[in-house]
């Protein structure tokens, strides 16, 4: 097959054949990985059932540490979900060209991590089977609506809105690719894609609607994007009783931290996509380079917020708050976690990204992005648990918290679950948007200015 056309662009047939290699064929490792992950996921569901049967005693929670690993992981997955809109909506509105090959991956990461995050409050709640009172307010016999003042009620609203919006966004972006798949499959799958493709033929009007829809959804999703993690942060920030939580900086601090961890997760995914499906010509080092630049800015802003948060914790000179921070930063075992958090969240990865050589090195980018997410998980843990384990004036309630293996397994389960969902998705839909890839081939070009060859981009003027 011809790889390049006469203008030295990747030819469209070649793009199709390579990018559909995970969808129209099954990669060798796919069935094995899926069955292993499926096994772990099933065990997770069984454990969840056991927890429902016997109660939350199976966790390591106690009084006053009522929230632990489950809520930490919930916040973590909500954070990861900020990747999608950051990459596809914000970069779309700011016309960053390098976003194109990773938009789809970022969006499905958003959807699956959000869906997983939404499961965690259920796992975490004492009586999951009564959750209908909380999430679905239609229960006429009670005659009461859920409490709109509670951030825990705003959470499901924000998250489900975000989930709906992201799914629509993904679907709109999938349409042209669904049509490609419809034309290349037979039998049951053809029927399936035919229904989903909604009669897409690629005429100018359809393209225009698709672009308008994408831009509108991007703009409309932005406020939701910001509000989701802000509301999650208000779960903590509105609580006056917990000194470490009652901080006005929490909303933007959580959002910027979420972007940090979400974009890092996209970097991780990009490396895995290169290795798993061999899409080296489409996910190129310059994409890693651009993402790492973005991450450097985001991470530095995030560090500034972290600094302000700590500064204002000490500013009040209140004894309980200072005691809490002393415990969080200096006392074993928190100090080890705090050190790891600082190292993995900022100090190790970000200076690495200053060098272009590292930014374009796939393996190093992979590992540094993993580091960031370890750090960001620890950040949430270090906000939630020491805040609750604080030394209140009531000495008889002091407790320590050590998560049970049960909670650790559910954490592990969530990773297996998200990966499994993504792998299944990749078997049904292409992970790299074909049309975006082709469009970027057409839109970008190299020109000579003087002696230098410079990459250029075509920008359409909006009427």
């Amino acid at each position: 097959m011809q790889q390049r056309d006469n203008e030295n662009r990747l030819s469209q047939e070649y793009t199709n054949s390579v990018l559909l290699n995970g969808t129209l064929q099954t990669p060798k490792w796919w069935p094995y990985l899926v069955s292993i992950l499926g096994f772990f996921v099933v065990i997770g569901f069984v454990l969840f059932g056991i927890q429902i049967k016997y109660g939350l005693g199976v966790t390591g929670l106690n009084r006053p540490i009522y929230w632990g690993l489950y809520i930490t992981t919930f916040v973590f997955w909500v954070g990861i979900s900020h990747a999608g809109i950051m990459i596809s909506a914000i970069l779309r509105l700011t016309q960053a060209e390098w976003r194109r090959p990773v938009t789809r991956a970022a969006e499905i990461l958003t959807i699956f991590s959000l869906a997983t995050a939404l499961v965690f409050p259920l796992i975490h709640a004492g009586r999951t089977w009564r959750i209908v009172y909380w999430l679905i307010p239609y229960d006429a016999s009670r005659g009461i609506w859920p409490n709109i003042r509670s951030p825990l009620f705003m959470d499901p609203i924000a998250i489900s809105t975000y989930l709906t919006g992201s799914t629509l966004f993904l679907f709109v972006a999938l349409l042209p690719d669904l049509a490609v798949l419809r034309d290349r499959t037979t039998g049951f799958r053809k029927g399936f894609y035919t229904i989903l493709a909604l009669g897409w033929r690629g005429n100018p009007r359809q393209w225009k609607m698709q672009v308008v829809g994408g831009i509108l959804l991007s703009a409309l999703m932005l406020p939701i994007f910001v509000s989701v993690h802000s509301i999650v942060s208000w779960d903590f920030a509105v609580t006056t009783a917990v000194e470490g939580w009652h901080s006005t900086i929490f909303a933007p601090y959580f959002v910027i931290g979420a972007v940090h961890s979400g974009v890092s997760a996209v970097v991780t995914m990009m490396a895995l996509m290169r290795w798993g499906w061999g899409w080296n010509e489409f996910i190129r080092p310059e994409h890693f380079d651009a993402l790492a630049r973005l991450l450097t800015v985001v991470a530095t802003a995030w560090l500034g917020f972290t600094f302000l948060e700590l500064l204002f914790a000490l500013y009040g000179l209140d004894a309980p708050e200072i005691a809490l921070r002393e415990m969080q930063i200096f006392q074993y075992p928190w100090n080890m976690l705090f050190l790891t958090f600082l190292l993995t969240g900022y100090i190790l990865p970000v200076p690495m990204w200053i060098f272009k050589r590292i930014r374009t090195n796939i393996a190093l980018m992979f590992w540094s992005s993993i580091l960031v997410n370890i750090g960001m998980w620890l950040e949430r843990f270090l906000i939630i648990v020491p805040g609750l384990a604080r030394r209140t004036p009531f000495v008889f309630t002091w407790e320590a918290y050590s998560p049970s293996w049960f909670e650790w397994y559910i954490l592990f389960w969530s990773f297996c679950w998200v990966t499994l969902l993504m792998l299944i998705f990749s078997r049904v839909f292409p992970l790299v948007p074909l049309f975006e890839q082709k469009e970027s081939e057409v839109f970008s070009d190299d020109i000579k200015i003087g002696r230098a060859t410079v990459p250029t981009i075509f920008r359409e003027e909006e009427e």
Partner: protein, 461 residues
């Protein structure tokens, strides 16, 4: 909606014409400019008179100084924020900002105004140790002179970095002026150009220097906002603990910076006839930034507000009493209207943004909003009775303080000195960077692709 002709207002492609047209702004010294420089200097002197009057008459009463601090914060938030309009696109490699980045740099050199207003404030700002006990501040164990010394130092640093940023970005233009003029101007420009001939090495050093200065300016600006906002308002109020406040303050600063760039760009475009250089595209992009800034304002405000409103503890309630429903309630409403509601509802319309006058009016609204915000945040904070400074929370809410004649003089003087400095600097520095436009022409070209009109933009590393 708009014709192609309008869309493709493009700088003249001939480098010679560009050069001639742009340097002409430094040469046009008509009577109007001379007269306005005189008037502005007079007003600026009035401002200094106001400061001196305040200093001699009211220097022992800290509670009267809120408006002076608010004016300092206002100038810091508007003029000093302007270079951000050049810095951010530089980092993002955005080409559209090239025609207005020089204007942003020029407005950024007014740091000296901040320093002048800061001097009398040094006398009235309470020391770290009040009545034998250390008051709450971010200078936990630092020596006694700390807030005064570091605040002044940071303002001086910002002023120097602002000048350095303008100087490095104007260097090639000095060389151009040197080669295209005569007499005193040639000598001054020649001295300033420091032998810049445009060799490859000089250009690459220059690019690096501008990049570094921009980044440095950004960090200094955030740093100064943090210090000034905490030391000159937050730590004057017992129990006001608001971690987002410095960032919200800096955000207001960026909003004000964008607004001042839009206003000056609009005037420059009109007065010097630079319709082909500063086009609708720049206003459109700046309008979008303004829109985003107004949204950011409400986001930061709400992040703080919900925590205090929901928390309901003693200090939380005191915050609401002091800054929202207290002595400055009407100013708060005005600030909310002009910082958020008006610019947001005005600039949300693409038709408004995609015009020259739309963003200009939006900028005027927003700059008023920044002013009201600063008054709301600083005046009540300074009015708090200094004897309460060690309390855990604010127990006595002060009464509304109205500006006196000195405050008004200082405001007039500060604003006119900003314009004065901008006008004086523009006598030697072109309002639009000659080399920026030459590069703009090199890197971007209007093209037609099948049926669509567009621009082909090059993105060099």
């Amino acid at each position: 909606m708009s014709t192609n002709e309008e869309h493709f207002h493009w700088p003249p492609s001939d480098p010679k014409v560009v050069k001639e047209e742009l340097i002409s702004s430094t040469k046009r010294g008509g009577g109007f400019i001379k007269k306005s420089i005189w008037v502005l200097s007079l007003l600026s002197i009035l401002g200094i008179v106001g400061l001196l009057g305040k200093l001699f008459l009211e220097s022992n009463d800290q509670t009267q100084w809120g408006y002076i601090a608010a004016i300092l914060a206002f100038i810091l938030s508007t003029a000093s924020g302007a270079p951000m309009v050049a810095v951010a696109p530089l980092i993002a490699k955005a080409n559209w900002a090239r025609p207005i980045s020089r204007i942003a740099h020029i407005i950024g050199v007014v740091g000296i105004v901040n320093i002048i207003i800061m001097i009398p404030l040094l006398w009235v700002l309470p020391p770290l140790v009040v009545e034998g006990a250390r008051r709450r501040s971010i200078w936990f164990e630092a020596p006694n002179y700390s807030p005064h010394f570091w605040d002044t130092l940071s303002l001086i640093m910002l002023a120097i970095v602002g000048v350095a940023l303008l100087y490095s970005s104007a260097l090639p233009d000095f060389a151009t002026i040197r080669d295209n003029s005569s007499g005193t101007k040639k000598r001054i420009a020649g001295f300033l150009a420091r032998g810049f001939v445009g060799s490859t090495v000089q250009w690459s050093t220059l690019r690096m220097r501008i990049g570094m200065m921009s980044t440095f300016y950004f960090f200094t600006l955030i740093f100064v906002h943090t210090l000034i906002s905490i030391d000159l308002s937050l730590s004057m109020v017992p129990g006001w603990r608001d971690a987002i406040y410095p960032m919200a303050h800096a955000m207001g600063g960026i909003q004000g910076g964008i607004a001042s760039v839009i206003i000056v760009a609009w005037i420059v475009r009109k007065y010097f006839g630079y319709e082909n250089y500063i086009t609708i595209n720049q206003f459109w992009a700046l309008g979008r930034l303004m829109f985003a800034a107004s949204l950011m304002w409400i986001y930061f405000f709400y992040s703080a507000f919900i925590v205090f409103w929901y928390g309901r503890s003693m200090s939380d309630t005191a915050w609401l009493d002091l800054l929202i429903r207290g002595p400055m309630m009407y100013v708060f409403i005005l600030g909310m209207l002009f910082s958020f509601i008006f610019p947001w509802w005005w600039l949300i319309w693409n038709k408004v943004r995609n015009s020259v006058n739309g963003p200009f009016y939006g900028a005027i609204l927003a700059i008023l909003g920044v002013f009201f915000e600063r008054v709301r945040l600083y005046v009540p904070a300074w009015s708090v009775d200094p004897s309460l400074i060690h309390d855990k929370w604010l127990k006595v809410i002060p009464k509304t303080l109205f500006p006196d004649i000195w405050d008004i003089l200082v405001l007039v003087g500060a604003v006119s000195s900003v314009f004065l400095i901008v006008m004086i600097v523009s006598r030697i520095v072109p309002f639009i960077g000659v080399w920026e436009i030459q590069q703009f022409n090199l890197l971007a070209k209007p093209v037609k692709y099948i049926k669509a009109h567009g621009v082909r933009v090059a993105k060099p590393d």
